[in-house]
Amino acid sequence: MKFQHGMVAPLVALFVGVVGFPLAYAFYLSITDYRLTSHGTPKLVGARNYVATFGDAEFWHAFGTTALYVCVAVGLELVVGLAIALALQKQRWARDLTRSMLLAPMFITPIAVGLIFRFLLNDQLGAIPQMLRVIGVDYDFFGPGRALFTLALIDVWQWTPFMVLLLLAGLQSIPREPLEAARVDGASGWYVLRRVTLPLLAPVLVVAILLRCLDAMKVFEYVFATTRGGPGTETETLQYFVYQTGIQFFRLGSASSMAFVVLLLVLTMIVIAFRRMEKAKTS
């Protein structure tokens, strides 16, 4: 065996073991009527689970909820993250300390973040609703119509730092000359940002948005820590819905088919994003 093949073989073998095989097995589960509670071999049911998933109103509701959550969270993270990255780029005083501190939330255990905010935003005990009450605002963060938005804000708290990290790196790799040329020509700061900085930053922006969207789609911990899908089914996200189907109702077959539909959606998103990037490169 050639040296390089021997070096890569353990990686490929382990990768097939922990990703490839489970993936194939998950596909097998998705075409059976497997239940965690039943004994004996599960029956093959073909595409029945998939047909059921596509016709399942609750699944599409969870899909819509997740899509709304991702749009709100990643949209806010992009705007806030860009502002903070631009501000940090010019920061000189206590530079490393400021950066380390502002980036810290992305390393905190998400379930802990969820519980911290459940406590902080709690209607009776929480500090933030009580402060709001002092200025005369009565706002129930986990009430109907608000809970999903609150979850998105928790996501913003934890993951804006990731946006900042990538955009800051992008900003620092932008060549200086076009910026200086624009300034010499008397362009305003806003004009430079819109017409010079952002276009140059576009590749990093696309990657940052894509990575955040893919990660935000998997939201589970915040829902599990705070609302458990409620009020009603308002905050039932895809990952939480699949978890419920598989673990609370033991329907592993249907849950696996749902997970595969989610995977299909993820892959579609990636393909579209890459197409866009290719187009941007050629034009």
Binding site: V18, V19, S100, A104, L125, F220, L263
Partner: protein
């Protein structure tokens, strides 16, 4: 000129606001961990005699054992990932071994929703009577830590000049010895960053642990999730447990933040 000053004021104000937003919840939790249940019902109470009751409760409860199990899972996962991943990443970076498929696989596995893989792990664990042990959790964590660590390392290995190994081979090293004794020391900082990042990924994961080991082998995030019954008495203990989970990884993160961008971008962007 006035515009520039206004802009500078906005910039500083934004950073202060961001800093306070980041610190406030953490400071609040730290305060809550040294309050009595009665003091907890008054959020504005800032001057009080701190009590260590919650900390005592947490340290005698199962939280420390759960933290130990989390550390075992993370260390074993990262250990395997670093050894297997660095060999593989080197072969991929230098010799294009495994072709585009292997390289793409490492990237694609990072976006795989955990809901896809978790049920196979669960049924296999049941079949082998390993459910509610750490072994399926380690396998599940390998499914996302291994690709991330390998992806990081491909970038770091590509940054090492080829002439180093060529010189080593001229000097009579075998290819493996050149890898181990000449190339590896060059990427050691990168390996350290990848290892710490992999550790935080494993340490922070709730989903796999919750499904594969919800009972006596619960890892730290699962144990912390158990505090969500939310009786007033438990908030102090919950706060202390959260701090135990958060502090180690946040401190570790300070050492790797600079290399993180380089790792995520596969070595393309340096910070």
């Amino acid at each position: 000129m006035r515009g520039l000053i206004a802009l500078a004021v906005c910039r500083v104000a934004l950073l202060w606001a961001a800093g306070i937003t980041v610190l406030f919840p953490v400071v609040w939790i730290a305060l809550a961990s040294v309050k009595t249940p009665e003091q907890l019902s008054d959020p504005f109470l800032l001057t009080f005699t701190p009590t260590l009751d919650s900390w005592r409760n947490v340290l005698t409860s199962g939280i420390l054992a759960a933290a130990g199990r989390s550390a075992i899972v993370a260390i074993v996962t990262v250990g395997i990932s670093v050894v297997v991943g660095s060999m593989g990443a080197y072969a991929i970076a230098r010799y294009r071994a495994g072709g585009t498929a292997t390289r793409f696989g490492m990237l694609a596995a990072q976006v795989l929703p955990p809901a896809v893989l978790v049920f196979p792990f669960l049924t296999m664990a049941y079949a082998l009577r390993l459910n509610d042990t750490l072994i399926p959790v380690i396998f599940a964590h390998l499914s996302f830590v291994l690709p991330v660590v390998t992806w990081f390392l491909i970038g770091f290995f590509e940054a090492v000049p080829r002439s180093l190994e060529e010189q080593a081979q001229v000097d009579g090293f075998t290819r493996f010895a050149a890898f181990r004794l000449v190339v590896l020391p060059q990427v050691l900082p990168g390996i350290g960053a990848a290892a710490i990042f992999g550790f935080t990924l494993s340490w922070n994961d709730l989903f796999y642990g919750l499904i594969l080991a919800p009972g006596k082998a619960a890892i730290l995030p699962v144990a912390i999730a158990g505090f969500n019954t939310f009786r007033g008495v438990q908030i102090g203990s919950m706060s202390a447990a959260i701090l135990i989970a958060v502090v180690p990884v946040v401190i570790a993160s300070f050492f790797i933040q600079r290399r993180l961008v380089q790792g995520i971008s596969g070595g393309a962007v340096k910070f």
